[in-house]
């Protein structure tokens, strides 16, 4: 298990390195000039040149990448020139909000998705199974920003069950969770559909396995056979999909954070990309990718913990 974990961590670090370097290259070669945005259209060419030199924007791309990693490894993520604060401060104050949002979405999709999937498989080909199937596909098809907008309209504006904007009072857990419920649901809904479909399919496959027949032949209760013996095997693919799905949830988080006016990495990236605020873009990208890779890594480890057969490899 330890060796397996070590291999996975090494792979994760390599992924972060390659992804960030590639993103950095794309960002640098993208048309648009931070000097125009920062210094305004009336800045003199001399002022612009000086600013570019200061930021190291005239160096070859390769040199810029090496410099960038050098700074990151020494713990310096650079300065946010727009608001004159360290990038690290901007990013790490936003990160917990996004993490809460993504974990909330995972919570919704794992609990609702697994329940719906197991329930469908248990009652396969009944009308309840068909309804669940149609709902699941509907959830998958609905874009998350549409779900975000409509759930905001329905639950916050019309029904007034949930708050419309913000992330809640700092330090007040109940208020935080209250503000989290709707946005995380909006992001998680599509994944509820995915997970339900995956769990249903793998559950049906698992229920046909010989060891399920064995369990039933030993007189175990139907509930125990389905929700314990079969589900434990059937959720494995769903865990894997959720781990990778965090990438998708992060991009949905951008919309949800904008729609619900929540602070977070998503809105930070959105603002800084439109402002060509390179240090903040790179800093938040680094953290977002690091977060994604960490979650995928956790999913792998959770899977290994759930499936003893994987630990051997």
């Amino acid at each position: 298990m330890l060796q397996y974990a070590f291999q996975r961590v090494l792979l994760a670090l390599a992924i972060v390195f390659v992804a960030i370097s590639a993103l950095f290259t794309i960002m640098i070669t993208l048309p648009g000039d931070p000097t125009t945005v920062l210094l305004g259209p009336r800045a003199t060419p001399e002022l612009r040149a000086e600013f570019r030199a200061n930021m190291g924007l005239d160096d070859p791309v390769l040199v810029q990448i090496v410099n960038f990693w050098g700074r990151i490894l020494s713990g310096d993520m650079g300065m946010d020139y727009n608001r004159n604060r360290p990038v690290a401060e901007a990013v790490f104050s936003a990160l917990p909000h996004t993490m809460a949002l993504v974990f909330g979405a995972i919570f919704w999709s794992a609990t609702l998705g697994i329940l719906l999937g197991a329930f469908s498989a248990d009652n396969r080909n009944s009308w309840l199974d068909r309804v669940t199937g149609v709902l699941s596909v509907g959830f998958i098809a609905a874009p998350s920003f549409v779900v975000a907008l409509y759930s905001l309209l329905l639950f916050s504006v019309t029904l007034r069950w949930f708050p419309t904007i913000g992330a809640g009072e700092p330090g007040d857990l109940a208020s935080r969770l209250y503000h989290l419920a709707l946005p995380s649901f909006a992001i998680g809904l599509a994944w509820v559909g995915y997970v339900a479909r995956i769990v249903r399919a793998s559950m049906l496959e698992t229920l046909g396995e010989n060891y399920i027949r064995t369990a039933r032949a030993f007189g175990l209760t139907r509930r125990k056979v389905i929700y314990n013996y079969a589900l434990r095997v059937a959720i494995l693919p769903a865990v894997q999909v959720l781990g990778v799905g965090i990438g998708g949830m992060l991009s949905s988080a951008v919309f949800a954070e904008i729609v619900f006016s929540r602070p977070g990495i998503g809105s930070l990236i959105y603002d800084s990309v439109s402002g060509r605020n390179y240090p903040v873009v790179m800093g938040s990208m680094l953290v977002a990718i690091g977060f994604f890779v960490t979650c995928a890594l956790i999913a792998d480890l959770v899977n290994a913990a759930l499936d003893p057969r994987q630990r051997v490899k």
Binding site: Y211, T214, A217, D307, R309, V312
Partner: protein, 323 residues
């Protein structure tokens, strides 16, 4: 002698697109207490359907059209599902064919053996002790450590021993062994057969042993039932049936057994023809189309005729018939 298992006129149909597939037709079977009864027959003869019917764990499209199954006098057909569940694993239990797939891959062996004992009102430690004890009795080395192992950490032979330990853990009255040695190699086969004999003596359960391997049946069983196309065609003490087979099908089966052939043959002998279509089984004798002896009388259904004592065959020519 008291009967542990009595099957009387069991008829099972599967609903298929072509109509009702009559997988078992009017099967009679007795397993006396403490005896080992073998069932032999080629694939498609209804062995698996019979096991599922005995456990009352049939697929959704299967239906018991007629007949009864009683375990120590208690009727299983139509019994409440709670009662059936209660009996499974405790009074009647199974060892399945393929040990590689019959144990849950994500639960430890100890956990699976714990779960089987869920009806027992004893402490966890006692359940663990019983499980380890049984693993030791089926000949697994280091049984206590095996409780923490996952199935994939054991070899095929060890897994089958675990499966047997699980099956006899609750000291069932009837143990069904569904080709328990087919997936194993020959040396292991002998060991497993010896183990079953030993456990049968210790626990005193009756065993219904299903196999297509005539040698194993002859070695292990007291009585044997020969099945063909969903019917029991011959039954009797093992020695009688194998020495004086009285149904042409049994005779053919023994002729085709590679283990019994006296001369070398380039091609293994086979019974010509195919199994009849069970959605519309022919009237009269079910084996008629493949039988050398078929005559006009075979167009009527034969009833079981006694050969000697408890040995009978479902053939017009059996026993003192018109041969």
């Amino acid at each position: 002698m008291t009967e542990t298992l009595t099957v009387d006129g069991l008829t099972v149909h599967y609903a298929t697109r072509e109509g009702a597939l009559q997988a078992l037709r009017d099967v009679d079977l007795n397993v006396p207490a403490g005896q080992i009864v073998g069932i032999v027959g080629e694939s498609g003869c209804g062995k698996s359907t019979l096991i599922n019917a005995l456990l009352q764990l049939m697929s959704e499209n299967a239906r018991i059209a007629a007949g009864s199954v009683t375990l120590e006098g208690e009727e299983l057909v139509g019994a409440p599902s709670r009662r059936l569940r209660d009996m499974r694993g405790r009074d009647i239990s199974v060892v399945f064919q393929d040990p590689m797939t019959s144990l849950n891959p994500v639960l430890t062996i100890g956990r699976q053996m714990h779960d089987i004992q869920y009806r027992e009102k004893i402490s966890r430690a006692e359940k663990t002790r019983r499980a380890a004890d049984m693993l030791g009795r089926v000949g697994l080395p280091d049984p206590v450590a095996k409780l923490d192992a996952y199935p994939h950490e054991l070899s095929g032979g060890q897994r089958q021993r675990v499966a047997i330990a699980m099956a006899v853990l609750m000291r069932p009255k009837l143990l069904i062994a569904d080709e328990p040695t087919t997936a194993l190699d020959a040396t292991l086969e002998v060991q497993i057969i010896d183990l079953l004999k030993e456990l049968q003596r210790e626990i005193g359960c009756a065993i219904l042993f299903i196999s297509h391997h005539l040698g194993v049946i002859a070695e292990l069983c007291d009585r044997v039932v020969v099945m063909y196309a969903g019917e029991a065609v011959e039954e009797g003490p093992v020695a009688d049936v194998f020495n004086t087979p009285s149904h042409p099908y049994t005779a053919k089966l023994i002729e085709c057994d590679p283990g019994r052939m006296k001369t070398k043959a380039a091609l293994l002998p086979a019974i010509p023809g195919d199994l009849p279509d069970l959605t519309a089984p022919p009237t009269g004798c079910i084996f008629r189309d493949r039988c050398d002896k078929a005559a006009e009388i075979c167009r009527t259904s034969p009833t079981p005729s006694a050969v000697t004592g408890a040995h009978w065959a479902r053939c017009h020519f059996a026993g003192g018939g018109r041969q």
